[in-house]
Assembly symmetry: D3
Homo-oligomer: 136 residues x 6
């Protein structure tokens, strides 16, 4: 069993705002992240796949294929988008935690079909904070 990780990027706008709360409560809980006119981030995404090594290739999974999958199913969906408005299927507060789970759900089944097992999603929102999700 060996683990391989691919890094990709996307840039997006979002805000953290709970519509069931007053503006005051949103400002108290979310601080500047509640700015009604949005803010944004450069997100760094690390996708880790585990599996056995294929003796013909030396690969757990072909990184070119994994990179293509991440681009078509994740970064083209999220890059230069507003995570609160523009992303089909993301019907949830776009905290880093929820975006990481959204990405897991986009990739896990397709990576299984490619012969690997999705092990983890690591998503940096800034260089000072990141989330990891392992599917359980």
């Amino acid at each position: 069993m060996i683990y391989i990780t691919r890094k990709e990027h996307f840039n997006a706008a979002h805000k953290l705002f709970n519509p069931n709360w007053s503006e005051e409560k949103n400002a108290t809980i979310f601080g500047k992240c509640a700015n009604k006119n949005w803010h944004g981030h450069n997100y760094d995404l690390y996708v880790t796949v585990k599996g056995e090594i294929n003796p013909d290739t030396g690969f757990v999974i072909n990184l070119k294929d994994l990179g293509d999958l991440i681009r078509t199913d994740v970064t083209e969906v999220l890059d230069h988008k507003n995570l609160n408005i523009d992303v089909e299927g993301m019907n949830i507060m776009p905290s880093t935690e929820n975006v990481a789970i959204f990405i897991w759900n986009k990739l896990a089944a397709k990576i299984s079909i490619m012969g690997g097992t999705l092990h983890g999603i690591k998503l940096y929102e800034t260089e000072n904070n990141y989330v990891e999700y392992f599917g359980e």
Copy 2:
């Protein structure tokens, strides 16, 4: 003459969109950066000051004072904001080039009063592109 640089951060939303152009022309020129619902970045800002060393302190300029100035006059103005909407005095397309010049104009006179000379602004929009401005 010696040069000292201070790094600060801010996160913001923006879009690149020329209101004198059609949507098609905006999309052709600005690509995904023209997304009407915004996108955003983690900006890294480097402010470089030059001057003579004060023999009492060993400093060109006190970095704590410089950091305080950058925070009050730049990062509190730009952090978690929408650069097209929220920033007083930024009445211009918020390209990295124009944001760098906006920051220069915010800082140059005040750094002179503190006894240094603003030498340059370096502004990273992503880890793959940055702008430098030297005031002329």
Copy 3:
């Protein structure tokens, strides 16, 4: 279950020196780290908390609260200090390993009160070496 990590910094002086040993033995075991007049480092600290996502916020833990806790209980205690002399309660050789455990002990109970579970401490002494501690 999801994991969120916050990065903070502190700068400190220390030396590695066992008072039960001769100067020669200290120099043999600790090399330049035994310099009697101290040396120092920029420490990078990563604090990882795990838990369930709060559906009202999308958060495991509010990062602003976590950051405030790390600053009051860890970085204000260690930053610009001499780890052998200045830190109340650190009555032990200030190796990276022991400093990581010291930080764990400062944070674990308070993070539980905030509703999360401290998962791990990762402490970089230089960019070429770091320690991880998971509480057991």
Copy 4:
């Protein structure tokens, strides 16, 4: 139980090429990595050792000794080499996965003799992809 990691570097040439396949199949599977005249990388290697802390030193393992071992047994063997031709004992496709396992096998027994337990090898081939191996 605590974990300590040491980072080292090496630069090497390699190609990915299966001699049982046609040139066309190699190009299809390995893309530009199959270039017959080689290409190369700056590899970043992280070696993680776990163990109990020695109360006399505060160390799991003396990092100077660990660094010396990695240099004599790994980086002097791999640095500025062609991984397909120059490395005794590496009789396998030099994918990042296989190089990571090769490094594990070079280090695990010797780290046990030094009193620690090799926990993991993390090997970056580029800043955008890395492999982790934990010995099982």
Copy 5:
């Protein structure tokens, strides 16, 4: 006048070897870099263009166009190649210095046609050494 920089990557093999010298002299001067079977690097390339800001776009130069030019004229020419053998027109020792000048010569005229002025090439061979060339 403002300066904008675009970062790109390529991976390549090379060796440093002067055919007019003996193997011994090559080994003395170039050390491990003279290994006859090649070694390689991940090169990081920074291309800096200067110019006036176009008021319609806020740009010195459209970074998408600049990125396309660097990819077609530089990284597709150098990526996953052997710099001693595979690169048409590079009839010179592939030291970092000479590769930087080769890249300058590939780009300067075309950037002029695009309306900017090539200001500098910065080429990292490893994270510990880089070359800068300003065309004179």
Copy 6:
């Protein structure tokens, strides 16, 4: 004319304290940097040399020789030292500015003898502040 830069590291303790001032004034001006028991940093040092390319080697200067010079004349002098106490010839407040000039003075003449010209010293005290000195 081309520029080549070599990066090296050292770790050191220091404090900023003017003995002609009261403790209160030192604390006001230098803040936590005045802690009487020292603090410390991981310093990153970039040494830039300019010159013509030697056609026999493709080099401005042999980086191995430059690295050896920096190690013997700078990093062995400063690494794991207390910059206020341990460094012969550094009879000055060890601000980053003054340490950068100290390093320039150690290297400039010897680099001339090696056939290059020292162009600049860039010294990072933390990832958020650095000094540059060009000898005038």
